[in-house]
Amino acid sequence: MILVVDMNSKRASLAFYEFVTPIIAIAEELDECVVRHYSELTQQDLSNCSKLVLSGSPLKDTVTLAQLDKFKWLEDFSKPILGICAGMQTICLFFGSRLKKCSELGMTQVKTLKANPLFSSSFKVYALHNYAIEPSSTFDVLAESAKCAHAIKHKTKEIYGVLFHPEVRNKEIIQQFILAL
């Protein structure tokens, strides 16, 4: 079962349709799917799922970045995670990375730096962010654009993050996350 975590600051927000529903649609084609708001995650939710996807949120919604205490479960969670945009930023901040200003809106070229099970070579992605990550030594950078790191992996856990939005373009990355990890 895939657990999709809604990273919008408001529960059941208008942004849910844009940032969470498309992920659910992709995940449901491959597996059973459950959705929870990040503020309402329970130990049972975490125990019941096989993998977890943290959604993105609107450009102006950066609330999760200031609520890292809600993500303490990341420390002990050992199943695969894919963080998308705000999801990746939150993961990275939790594990000691820093934010930096970096605005990319629209189709953006990225190139793969390190072989991984989710993607390869150079490809175009849909970017929607005003901040990027300066990854801490906890992470390997898997892909980057001309401006910033676009994909990371935790060095010892199955935690992946993409700054771009694979639910908009490159949905096979989400499919691959569900099927291959």
Binding site: L14, E18, T21, P22, A25, L59, G106, Y126
Partner: protein
């Protein structure tokens, strides 16, 4: 949050309006009247009907004329949003974009520059499900423009219903046509919707069509009791 809905009067922006109204406070509609029939950003058939649709919805309408030249038309959109921010203190903008990265990234950029929220509540929505939702919610939608093979004048003015959806899905299978017109194959006009307090009655119209391209132009219409 007070929102302005980018509104063309077609099924997508009207459905986006309804989604927005279910979640937040819609303060106004924003319409760009494009003089360019080929505009990639703004719909053109029956854009004048937005005045009646706004009145039917009991919402103020910010309307701005644009020459519709690629990229320059975005300055007009930005000015219209600024006008809506000033007049109706909106904090965010809603669009009916479904698949078009071209449209959505441009709207996102404008909103980002202005510091307002941007919502796309139909984003990546399955087109069949979207059409079915429009019909299930009781929208009265007519086809007001066709711009692709094998569509022709016979489609113009037809009301969207389950039978018509089946036909559109058949064309998707056979010809790769986007059933909700995401590629600009079809334009629609909404005559009634749950949020409308009155419905639109067409008094006079003309069909201007040639081959696989044509419009159903509403020349005269009025609001009537539902």
């Amino acid at each position: 949050m007070r929102l302005g809905v980018l509104f063309s009067g077609g099924k997508d922006s009207t459905l986006a309006l309804h989604r927005a109204a279910e979640n937040e406070e819609v303060a106004c509609l924003i319409t760009l009247v494009s003089e360019n029939k080929e505009s990639l950003m703004f719909h053109t058939p029956n854009i004048d009907v937005t005045t009646l649709q706004a009145e039917a919805s009991d919402l103020p309408l910010v309307q701005k004329v644009t020459a519709g030249k690629p990229e320059a038309e975005l300055n007009d959109l930005e000015e219209a949003i600024v006008q809506a921010v000033k007049a109706y203190t909106i904090e965010g903008v809603v669009s009916g974009a479904i698949e078009s990265v071209y449209q959505s990234e441009r709207i996102q950029r404008i909103c980002n520059r202005l510091g307002v929220w941007c919502f796309n509540p139909l984003w990546k929505r399955n087109q069949k499900a979207l059409l079915e939702e429009v019909v299930a919610k009781g929208f009265k939608v007519i086809i007001s423009g066709v711009f692709a093979f094998p569509l022709d004048s016979k489609w113009l003015g037809k009301e969207l219903n389950t039978k018509l959806i089946s036909k559109l899905l058949g064309l998707e299978k056979e010809f790769g046509l986007s059933p909700s017109g995401e590629g600009g194959e079809i334009e629609t006009t909404v005559l009634d919707a749950p949020l409308f307090k009155k419905k639109i009655e067409i008094l006079d119209y003309e069909v201007d069509a040639k081959g696989n391209s044509g419009v159903f132009k509403i020349k005269q219409a009025r609001l009537v009791t539902k």
